[in-house]
Structures are given as structure tokens and as C-alpha cells.
């Protein structure tokens, strides 16, 4: 009984660590696409892309927010389909 509880506890700890690793990785990307480009927006604007967007403006108005949507789906699918399964937390 005591032994199986310990196995259970270490499984939970491993699950939580893996969850945290995924969350932190995605938060680093979130941080990068949010905060790294605006300080240079004025210089980036000199570059034109697609139909004529100034790059700095485009990064904030389209690129970052599209990455946000992707990040959430990557998180949800990785958790639901990979990490939960690996640790046996699937729905019945």
C-alpha cells in the first residue's frame, strides 16, 4: 500500500514536471513574439512585405496574434493527446 502510493506520487510529480516544461517552452515563444519586435518597429517598418505591409506593423497586427492561436492549439493537443496519454490520464 505504502509502496504503491509512492509510485503514484512520483508518477504525478513526473506528470507535473512535464506539464511545466511544455508550459514554459510555450511561454518563452509567447514572450518572444510579443516583446522582441516592438522595440525595433521603427526600423522594421522600412522593410515592406506581402502586399506592402511595413514589417514592424505587420508583426504586431498579424504575425504575433496568429502565433498566439497556434500556441494554444499546440498546447491543448500536446496535453490531451500526448502527455495525458503517456501518464494514463485519458478520459474513459
Amino acid at each position: 500500500m505504502e509502496g504503491s502510493r509512492q509510485v503514484e506520487t512520483s508518477r504525478l510529480e513526473a506528470y507535473w514536471r512535464e506539464q511545466l516544461r511544455l508550459i514554459i517552452t510555450l511561454l518563452v515563444i509567447w514572450f518572444a513574439v510579443t516583446y522582441l519586435h516592438p522595440p525595433f518597429a521603427a526600423s522594421l517598418n522600412k522593410i515592406k512585405i506581402l502586399t506592402g505591409f511595413p514589417l514592424g506593423y505587420w508583426l504586431s497586427s498579424q504575425f504575433s496574434i496568429t502565433v498566439y492561436v497556434i500556441l494554444i492549439f499546440v498546447y491543448a493537443l500536446t496535453m490531451n493527446r500526448v502527455i495525458d496519454k503517456k501518464y494514463g490520464f485519458e478520459e474513459e
Binding site: 502510493r5 503514484e8 506520487t9 504525478l12 506528470y15 507535473w16 506539464q19 508550459i23 510555450l26 511561454l27 509567447w30 510579443t34 516583446y35 516592438p38 522595440p39 518597429a41 521603427a42 517598418n45 515592406k48 512585405i49 506581402l50 502586399t51 506592402g52 505591409f53 511595413p54 514592424g56 506593423y57 505587420w58 504586431s60 497586427s61 498579424q62 504575433s64 496574434i65 496568429t66 498566439y68 492561436v69 500556441l71 494554444i72 492549439f73 498546447y75 491543448a76 493537443l77 496535453m79 490531451n80 495525458d84 501518464y87 494514463g88 490520464f89 485519458e90 478520459e91 474513459e92
Partner: protein
């Protein structure tokens, strides 16, 4: 405890059957909306007066919302508070989209972009990026917790001082939501008066009736299913005009891609006219002009006008505002409670993705509105003889939203002689694109849907904070079921009337309050929820001190800077005061928690349970003997 007696969750098969049925209903609703628009357009061509087309749109949509609201009448608390926890991820995504996007997103966002250019993109990034935090840090854990309100969570997680923690959280929820709902009611009144010629006050009360039919009878259950319909109305209404405008101006009906052309045309026109560049970042100086006009309106002696230009050209305000809006988004109770309504934590994760996708559709389009109408104005309005301006300008000059003065009497309109109210950008686009009035009426119906759906969600938060948190959990824990229910309904009615009364004088301060709501939410809920889930050592003393200290720090910076912008750190305005409140809250919560005893074992066990996406939560009564508190629910128990 989280499940009401006799209320069983749906099985997976029932849920997917439910999802299919919903898809059919709302698919039919979408087709009906388009068909109705086409029919009205045909009537318009046949000569039906515009006034009737406008009324037809408003009354038909209100009738539909009322129909859905009444259909979802309920006597069960589990349905009244959390829609029975059976809302599929994708539909909860649409409901969250409508809940989130207010009159301000629908009408004013594009206008703000028109006026501020790059600097307004802080709103676009802040109000979307917050959902990443919501998905990764909050939504699945909040759903696993599975009670009814956000103060429920605060009171349980910080259970050593459950009543005080709940009280502070409930008061914070009420302050934030009341400011916000008043702005929605104001928005309804403005749309009604501008488009349908109703008196502003009559508009407010018609709108209020619209809110009440959706929320009074069925609570969260009615709200959810009307919000899905309202999302469909608002997104169709938002996308159609700008798509036609893009086709007219560039030949390609894909505004999100084609406004790049508008931006480069704007750049060339600006150079030719020696205007500051629209896409140039960080142009905003600090000023107290908002405080001056707000103070004058309520009869307080206004401060001397002060403008601080020291920080123009630095990115700090932009970065801080973005962070503040993100953290505020995650701390808004009416958004958080939407994730109680999905069937499981796994659905909650996916549901945030859908939520942001549906919000993204509007936010990625808003800058296109701004760019196309700026192009139109620079190309066809500025530099033209004043007596030969395009036809669409006449209507808006009449409403006072567009002001033109020939300051130098040369008969030609210069850019500086033009003054634009931002709201015009969305409202006038149908006319600029040469679309029939039917489309303009559809846009008004969309704005109304945006305002009503947000107001619904907020009213529910206020009413549950009073009826559930303060009355049933603090004042009278033995209150009979029927009385709790009655009080919930009564509170919706009362808070709706209070919001309407606050909206009648149209105080500029109210608009300001909404902008501040994000700072306040970031300073109160965000840190204590985050630490509550991710740091077991956080305790009740820390959280309560943190919420109070965070709110005070935020308010001090806010008001001081609002009145006297010379008081600032790195040029941050009162709009980003939440940065300081949030930092103070984190610091105080951590220091006080470490200085006092850790939370008892049963609370730490509860945090362990939160982190597992399956199984029901088992919440022990406080004071349960050590060892009897349930450990971790076994895998797969559902």
C-alpha cells in the same frame, strides 16, 4: 459538492449527439441571417424606407435572443450558474468570443487604430495574447476545480480565511464588472440613437430589456446559447462591409491581406502631404486632457493642462500596456467562468483555442478597417475642395462625428482641418464601400449583439457575487435553495437597473473605468490565481494582503498619473497602472506567505488534484483530520 443532487453529467455519446444538434441549429441560424439580409435588401430596392429596415433588424434579432433565452428557462442552479457544464469546446469558444468582444471591440477598436496607428496595436496584441496565458495557466485548472464563481476558487484555495478571502474577491469582481457593464449599456444607447433615431435614454432601456430576456430566466444557460447566436451576428456584420470595401478599392475581396496596399498608399500620400507617418511607433505624449474633460463634466475643478513629451519614441508604454491588458484579460471573472461550463479540463484547453480563433477573426480584421478608411480619407477627402467632398461625408458631418472647418479659408480641406470621432470608421464603412443601407443596419445589429452579449456575462458575475458569494456563502449559509435562486434573479434585475442609471448621464469617466478595469483585474485576481495554482506555499494571509495591496498600488499610480502626468515611471500612463499593482500583488503575496504558516495539508492536496485533468474534485471540509483528506483521484475515474 460541486454537483447538484440529481444532476448528472452527460455521457460522451450524449455530448456528441448534443454537439451535432447544436451545429444544425446554429447552421440554420446562419443561413436564416443571410437570407433575411438578402430579403431586406430586395425590399430596400423596392423602396422600403430605411427606418423600417433598421427596425426590422433590431426587432428580429432581439426577438431571436429572447426566444433562445426563454427556451432555456431553468430551475436548476447547476444550469443557472454554469449552463449544466455541457457546452462543447467550440460553442463555448463562440460564446466566449461574444462575451469578450464588447461594443468597444466592435465599434471603437478600428477607430482607435485609425487615430493612434501603431500604438493602438498594443490593444490588438494585449487582448489576444492574454488567451495564451488563460489556456496555459488557468483554464484547465479552473475547470477541474469546477465550482460556480471565481470567489469560490479564491475562498477554497485560500481556505484558512475562507470568508475574508471570498469577500475581498467578490468585491473586486463587482467593482470590475460594474464599470464594464455600464460601458456596454452606454454602447447600446449610442447604437440605438445613432442608427434608429431613438432617444438615447429610450435606447438604454430597450437595450436593457434585451439583456434581461437573455439572462433573467435561464442564467448562464440562456446566456451561453444567446451568446453563440450573437457571435454569429457580430462576426458576419463585421466581416461583410470591409470585404466589399477591399474588393472595391483593391479588386480583391480579402481585406486582411490587401490592407498592406492601403498602408503603402497611405505612406506615399503622407509623404506628399508632409504628415507624420501612420505606422510610426510610439508617438503618444502623456497628457491629462482626459482627466480635464471628465472632471469638467461632473463639476470638479479640473487640473491645469500638462503634456509630457519626454518619453515619446520609447517602447515602454507600449510594452507595459500590452502586458497589463494580457494579465487583465486573464483576471476578468466573466471570461474565467466561461470555462466552468465545458464538460472537462481537456475540453477547456481546446475551448480556449477556439475562443481565441473566433476573437482573432475580428482582431485581425480591425486594422484593415482602419487602413482602408484612412486611405479613403487621405485620397478622396483631404486636399479636396470643401464643397466637393465625397457623398458619404455629408451624413456623418450631420451627426457631428466628422467635423470640418476651413481654418485658412482656402476652400480646400487640409488634414488639420478635419476632426474624426473614431467610431465612424466601422459605422461609415458600408457607405464608403457604396453598400445598401441594409448592410449598415446589419452592422448596427452586430454592434448591438456585441454590447448585449458582454453585458449578459457581466450581469451574471455581479448577481452571483452577491447572491452566491456574499449572501449564500457568507451571510446565510443555510439559506434555502429557493431563496438563493430568487435572490440571483433579483440581483440581475437590480444590477441591470443600476447599470442603466449609471449609463444615463454618459460620464466620460465610465469609458475611462473600462480601460482601468484591466489594470484592476491584473492587480487583484491575476497574481493570486496564478500563485494559487502554481505555488503551493502561497497562503490566505499572503493572497488577501496581495489583493488589497495590489489594488491600492494600482489605484494610487492610476489617479496620480491621470491628474498629473509629470508623475510617471518610464513614461507609463495610467492605462498601464496595472503593471505596478500586479508587481506589488506578487511581491506582497510571496513575502507575507513566506512570513506566515503554510496552508494546511488538505489545501495542498487540493492543489494536487487541480493539476490532474481527470476525475471529480473532492473538496474536504476545512478542519478534516490529517490523513483523511483525499489524495489524488485515481487515473481515469470520471
Amino acid at each position: 459538492m460541486s454537483q447538484e443532487a440529481g444532476y448528472t453529467p452527460l455521457t460522451r455519446a450524449q455530448l456528441s449527439e448534443f454537439r451535432r444538434r447544436l451545429a444544425k441549429y446554429y447552421g440554420a441560424f446562419f443561413v436564416f441571417l443571410i437570407a433575411f439580409t438578402v430579403v431586406l435588401y430586395l425590399f430596400e430596392r423596392a423602396g422600403l424606407p430605411q427606418r423600417f429596415i433598421g427596425y426590422a433588424f433590431i426587432f428580429l434579432t432581439l426577438l431571436l435572443y429572447a426566444f433562445i433565452g426563454i427556451l432555456n428557462f431553468t430551475r436548476r442552479l447547476e444550469e443557472y450558474y454554469v449552463a449544466g457544464r455541457r457546452v462543447p469546446a467550440i460553442f463555448n469558444g463562440m460564446a466566449t468570443g461574444a462575451d469578450w468582444m464588447s461594443a468597444a471591440s466592435f465599434i471603437s477598436m478600428a477607430g482607435t487604430l485609425w487615430l493612434l496607428g501603431y500604438d493602438a496595436l498594443a490593444y490588438i496584441m494585449g487582448w489576444t495574447g492574454g488567451y495564451v496565458l488563460l489556456a496555459l495557466l488557468f483554464a484547465p485548472y479552473i475547470r477541474k476545480f469546477g465550482q460556480y464563481t471565481i470567489p469560490d476558487f479564491v475562498a477554497t484555495r485560500y481556505g484558512e480565511r475562507a470568508r475574508l478571502a471570498r469577500f475581498v474577491a467578490a468585491i473586486c469582481a463587482i467593482i470590475v464588472s460594474l464599470a464594464y457593464v455600464t460601458a456596454q449599456v452606454t454602447g447600446v444607447g449610442i447604437i440605438m440613437s445613432r442608427f434608429f433615431g431613438l432617444d438615447y435614454r429610450v435606447g438604454v432601456f430597450v437595450g436593457l430589456a434585451g439583456v434581461l430576456v437573455c439572462s433573467f430566466l435561464g442564467g448562464m444557460k440562456s446566456i451561453t446559447w444567446t451568446q453563440v447566436a450573437q457571435y454569429i451576428v457580430l462576426i458576419v456584420a463585421y466581416l461583410i462591409p470591409v470585404t466589399f470595401l477591399s474588393a472595391k478599392l483593391t479588386g480583391v475581396p480579402f481585406p486582411q491581406l490587401m490592407y498592406g496596399k492601403a498602408l503603402s498608399e497611405i505612406g506615399q500620400l503622407e509623404q506628399a502631404m508632409n504628415l507624420p507617418a501612420y505606422v510610426q511607433p510610439f508617438k503618444q505624449a502623456l497628457s491629462n486632457s482626459a482627466a480635464i474633460s471628465a472632471f469638467k463634466q461632473i463639476g470638479i475643478t479640473p487640473p491645469e493642462p500638462i503634456t509630457v513629451k519626454d518619453w515619446v519614441g520609447t517602447p515602454w508604454q507600449f510594452l507595459a500596456l500590452t502586458l497589463c491588458l494580457m494579465a487583465g484579460t486573464v483576471g476578468l471573472p466573466h471570461i474565467l467562468i466561461r470555462y466552468y461550463t465545458v464538460p472537462s479540463p481537456k475540453e477547456a484547453r481546446i475551448s480556449v483555442g477556439w475562443s481565441l480563433f473566433f476573437i482573432w477573426l475580428l482582431y485581425v480584421t480591425a486594422p484593415a478597417y482602419a487602413a482602408f478608411s484612412r486611405w479613403e480619407v487621405l485620397q478622396n477627402v483631404v486636399g479636396q475642395p470643401i464643397n466637393a467632398l465625397p457623398e458619404w461625408t455629408a451624413n456623418w458631418i450631420r451627426t457631428g462625428l466628422l467635423k470640418i472647418t476651413d481654418a485658412n479659408n482656402d476652400g480646400i480641406l487640409q488634414f488639420s482641418e478635419l476632426s474624426i470621432n473614431g467610431d465612424i470608421v466601422v459605422l461609415a464603412t458600408p457607405e464608403i464601400a457604396g453598400l445598401p443601407f441594409t448592410i449598415a443596419a446589419l452592422v448596427a445589429a452586430g454592434g448591438l449583439a456585441a454590447a448585449l452579449s458582454t453585458a449578459d456575462g457581466l450581469l451574471l458575475v455581479i448577481s452571483t457575487a452577491v447572491a452566491h458569494d456574499i449572501y449564500a456563502k457568507i451571510i446565510n449559509p443555510n439559506a434555502p435553495y429557493g431563496r438563493r435562486f430568487l435572490l440571483s434573479r433579483l440581483m440581475i434585475l437590480i444590477s441591470a437597473v443600476i447599470a442603466a442609471l449609471l449609463a444615463i448621464p454618459q460620464f466620460a469617466l465610465i469609458v475611462q473605468l473600462v480601460a482601468w478595469a484591466f489594470s484592476m483585474a491584473a492587480s487583484t485576481f491575476f497574481p493570486v490565481l496564478l500563485l494559487g495554482i502554481f505555488w503551493k506555499r502561497a497562503n490566505a494571509n499572503g493572497a488577501i494582503a496581495g489583493m488589497i495591496g495590489g489594488l491600492i498600488t494600482c489605484l494610487v499610480y492610476m489617479f496620480w498619473n491621470y491628474v498629473d502626468p509629470r508623475f510617471n515611471v518610464l513614461g507609463l500612463s495610467h492605462l498601464s497602472a496595472g503593471i505596478f499593482g500586479m508587481a506589488a500583488n506578487f511581491l506582497i503575496t510571496i513575502v507575507v506567505s513566506l512570513a506566515t504558516a503554510p496552508s494546511p495539508k488538505y489545501i495542498q492536496d487540493m492543489v494536487d488534484q487541480l493539476r490532474i485533468p481527470v476525475g471529480e474534485m473532492r473538496l474536504p471540509a476545512p478542519g478534516a483530520a490529517p490523513g483523511t483528506a483525499p489524495g489524488v483521484a485515481p487515473a481515469g475515474q470520471d
